[in-house]
Symmetry: D2
Subunit: 369 residues, 4 copies
């Protein structure tokens, strides 16, 4: 499974099973000279951590990160930054009954077919817990972006069929309520909605929206490695995500060219767009506008309602999944979307430096003088 | 711009500007011993070629492919397969007036910012014409898939806000009408709709749906290189695509776990899913079901209605784009979606072979005997 | 520094500075179903560990490995295998005097120029200690190779200008003496030689030879990723290695075609070569013969003799490097050469499976039945 | 065979069989804004071309290059540069007798084993003719290096056992005699030597030495992607090369630390080395000194003396290879060594730009102002 490495110059490898000894990440390619502390990373992990509100599983994961390498006297060395998160609350016995049965909506069956067996404890590598490694690595990328004046902030656009209208986008509010919704009133109503669904033993999905501001024009590479394409891969690689759209996305497919094209104009000597249907990319490059994209998150597959399924031995059975599960994964996935987006942007910022002979010549002639 | 290489084991490099000498692709990693002729590739290029119906630009591109290497006595050698398509109808003068002006919805501005200048003739590398290289390479992947009993077929699910209902999916019909719609009556109505929009000097978008059948369980790699993620990158890298969804996609975000989870059952000794909300992937792996995904295509940005824009020298201007342009790109993009999907699937089929020690041992012990 | 990832399908990322918290490696792409214990890895680390004879530094490094992920119930899961080695004997104060001075033969100056500063404690990431991560990862590859009937064994061909004649290659003996020389008498004489050089405060280099047996014909990829080329990169990436040769290597440059070509013959229904000047590769592929290659190791740069050098502030100075240093690095580098070679061979074994349509078809048709 | 792609940011894909329709290369990642003409490339191809002296095969290959893409109005666009070389003098019948017989010292057997069959005409993809694609791509890299003040020049250090002493290194002379030897008198004597060996129907090898000047300090990435390691892979991937050494290389293994360490000193405010045993790298990074490395080239395997071999059907036979063959490949391989080295250096120059936060911040803040 050579699928746990991400990026070209800013390159991340994650590891760890849900109930193994530890999870973590190694970031290879972070530039030298950036101040970095465990706290810079911990604050993002804390946002992903369960048990912070009544909408998330009560599992106590701790998720304390240790920096094992790549930082010296408080600054990055330019060498690989290894990040370690020990698993504390493993309670493996909870899962033994899942050894020979395939949970609907989960990877269990595919794992057995592909690898011949699996770590059945809590989903193993396919657990949502795997995202701890992404968030740890993404925190390093987010630090780098912030050093360059770039912000990446995600929030919940909808929970189930409850959607916050597009004109309401109070990201500061989203950071303050446990559902990450960009409106306090909407939050209160969505909370009730979740409670009722949870009581039924069912679950919900939702849509996460992400904004990145402060990007230079021209990030992304033409043809296959377009900025949209890389962001899409990054976000679609998060377990529960089933859809991705840039700017107007699927709505653009219903509009006309004359509506969807963003007119250009001049503003204080700079080119601006008079609208942002494109979501901040043109031809696969950042166009200088705010980057806007959305991820569709499916409802949590682990539900306590009875479901039809099969066993590894070919028998049909009913399954009721007990234990601690998020009724909706959206609130905890918000920081994962930020992390994955930041990994793409950091990589693209580094790759973009080699675009022009002129820039390369300037870079090296300064070094010589 | 190191963005024109795609894939890990089945690896493609494309090249070519809209009005340069030629376009093409090099496929490195196609297995040896597969029969391959220019005709195998030409038939896909012909589907992409303009001028085949009143809904596409009248430009006569020819698009004849030549196999330069990698095939000997009718079979692939295991060496790089280079595919060449000469540009014939270049008419460069048409474009000289676009040298210093930025077309809304196009990459012109970003190219100038990133690279310092651009090939302004017909969009250069960012032209839709670039997809000829993808289709040529994709045709090789499609041949490989067909040798393994796998089919990949795409069609138009909607044109503008005209949508063919989900229960109507006659892919054979889609292959026969010039819009690629899976219903003849819908095609007739959509054709009229396009004509009226074209007359207004405006353009439309739409949604392309793709089905892949015959896949083994387990394609895709956990975590970052999930099958969904790779497909998403592949499809989102096509110029006009602004959204991607797997299975129920964005609709899944509004459904409940009890609805969205596909129950498992046994059928003639095999595990099947009783529904396919997942679109044929679980945990990032193919689950044995039909792969179903959709791409949102934006309306063609080149329209003859006047638009506000700016020049390279910082002046505001109005632009009217004359010349030959598709009123809707969807019909010609269908084969590009098939091509990109096939590239992903071919690569994933090769990568998957290394998943288990048992499979590797069998492979090499057979060779020794 | 995106330079700590190695391999395509069997892919390794290492991390760790000499005097940081820990070193380690993540192996992504190891096939599932292989039995693996910490002991499988520890036995190779113990061979690299210092303090085992009078010819190595007395530093007590411990080098106990912990498997953090990727193994469940004693078998590999197909997921990333993270390996952790805590640094124990850090004694940072020893190194503070090296903060502002550049040791001849070391990377100190280059690190400062490239990254702006460096971890000056024991060479940081450029310390020989970095190879612990390689050996840990290589041990996993060596286990995989042994499961497939392939052995990789290295030994010392020479220490300084003391060379064991080519016709003497007792690898079992080499495994038993602390210098890794393939002849006991030679070992005794070389030991004396080292002692005398050490007393002078000076150091020696040598040549390591490696043999790999049991390989199928055809490993390696034509053109850039030839087996020789990949092995060369792998071995030349070890800190002290300054030369690499395959088979007769540099001697081949002085021989004639009629001598250097290995004649083919039949032996029990198989093709064999009547000599092995090629060192087991032809055209970049394994040719079925024993793989034979050699690495030239430079003398340990840390010596206690006074040397001319400069400080970070531009002053000229003399430096005497005190502390614990290997008079010759060859004995401890032997296992590193084995590890790096195994990483290449494991990767090439996996990549080779996708060479032929026939093999792919067999692989997938078996899965379906 | 996914082995025909090379490099990370400056990335090359080559294609073509000896007797197929064409050979060529696609360079993805060359920065925009560099002037480039066919003539810039042709001059290097002409140095590789056979038939230029009595020491090379008389085959008339022509080797005219056409730039198919990536250049507009005389400057690189930042898009892939596709380079095409049509095969002219194919004379396939010469080779039909080699269909079922394995030439000693060639890849024939390995190709059949790995891929099931092969293009037996002139070695197919394993022909020395394959290097035309490398040289074409390398010429682009050499142009980029020259724009940055970096020169790469190779020459013959030895032909067979005839070696030009190290103190004689007149590279200008080497460029003027057909053997590429850095001394005219040596050239005359070596020419006679080759003539006599050729008359015997035998062949010779030799050693190529390469010097690169003008590099900044710090190129290369620590651990696996050391500059030495990448150069080694690049050079060892050339068909006939069997050994590589950096600086003193194998001789360093016999010297002492006190001799092999290069002392540092100050010279006009810069750090210099008082000797260059290291060959211009320390710890895997360029150290600011002249880069010096050597490649051992084996004798041409195609000889007209009778040799023992086997057929594809398992019979033993004698083979006499007739036709046009270089008695020594060294003179024509010199430009291939330059090309491969330039590909590495161009890639490393681009990768190095992302090393420090400070450099990245400067790069982007300038863009904003």
């Amino acid at each position: 499974m050579a699928g746990s490495v991400f990026g070209t110059l800013f390159r991340v490898t994650t590891f760890g099973e849900s109930h193994g000894a530890a999870l973590g990440a190694v970031v290879d390619g972070c530039p030298a000279g950036m101040s970095l502390t465990a706290e810079d990373i911990q604050k993002y992990l804390d946002r992903r951590k369960p048990g912070q509100s009544r909408f998330t599983t009560a599992r106590n994961e701790g998720d304390e990160v240790e920096i094992l390498s790549g930082v010296f006297e408080g600054r990055t060395l330019g060498t690989p930054i290894a990040l370690l998160i020990r698993n504390k609350d493993q309670r493996s016995k909870d899962y033994s009954e899942l050894k020979d049965i395939y949970r609907p909506g989960h990877a269990d069956l595919c794992f057995d077919e592909k690898y011949g067996f699996r770590d059945y404890r809590g989903g193993g590598r396919s657990s949502g817990r795997e995202t701890a490694g992404r968030v740890a690595a993404g925190a390093v990328a987010l630090k780098l972006l912030s050093e360059l004046g770039i912000s990446v902030r995600a929030f919940a656009r909808s929970i189930g069929d409850f959607t916050v209208p597009e004109e309401i986008t109070d990201i500061d509010e989203a950071a303050n309520n446990p559902l990450g919704l960009p409106d306090h009133d909407c939050y209160l109503r969505a909370a009730e909605y979740i409670d009722s669904v949870k009581e039924e033993g069912d679950s919900l999905g939702g849509v996460i929206e992400c904004h990145a501001e402060g990007l230079p024009v021209g990030l992304g590479e033409a043809v296959f490695d377009k900025l949209d394409a890389e962001l899409s891969k990054a976000v679609m690689s998060i377990g529960a995500v089933k859809g991705f759209e840039m700017g107007d996305g699927f709505r653009a497919s219903c509009s006309r060219g004359s509506e969807n094209n963003d007119p250009f104009a001049m503003d204080k000597g700079r080119v601006i767009k008079l609208s942002n249907h494109s979501g901040g990319t043109l031809g696969g490059f950042s166009d200088g506008d705010c980057l806007v994209f959305r991820a569709a998150v499916k409802p949590t597959p682990s539900i306590s309602k009875p479901q039809k399924t099969v066993t590894a031995y070919g028998g049909e059975r009913e399954i009721v999944i007990s234990g601690r599960h998020d009724p909706v994964i959206v609130p905890r996935a918000i920081v994962v979307v930020e992390a994955m987006s930041a990994l793409v942007l950091a990589d693209m910022l580094l790759r973009n430096m080699a675009s022009r002979l002129e820039g390369i010549r300037d870079f090296y002639s300064e070094k010589k003088n």
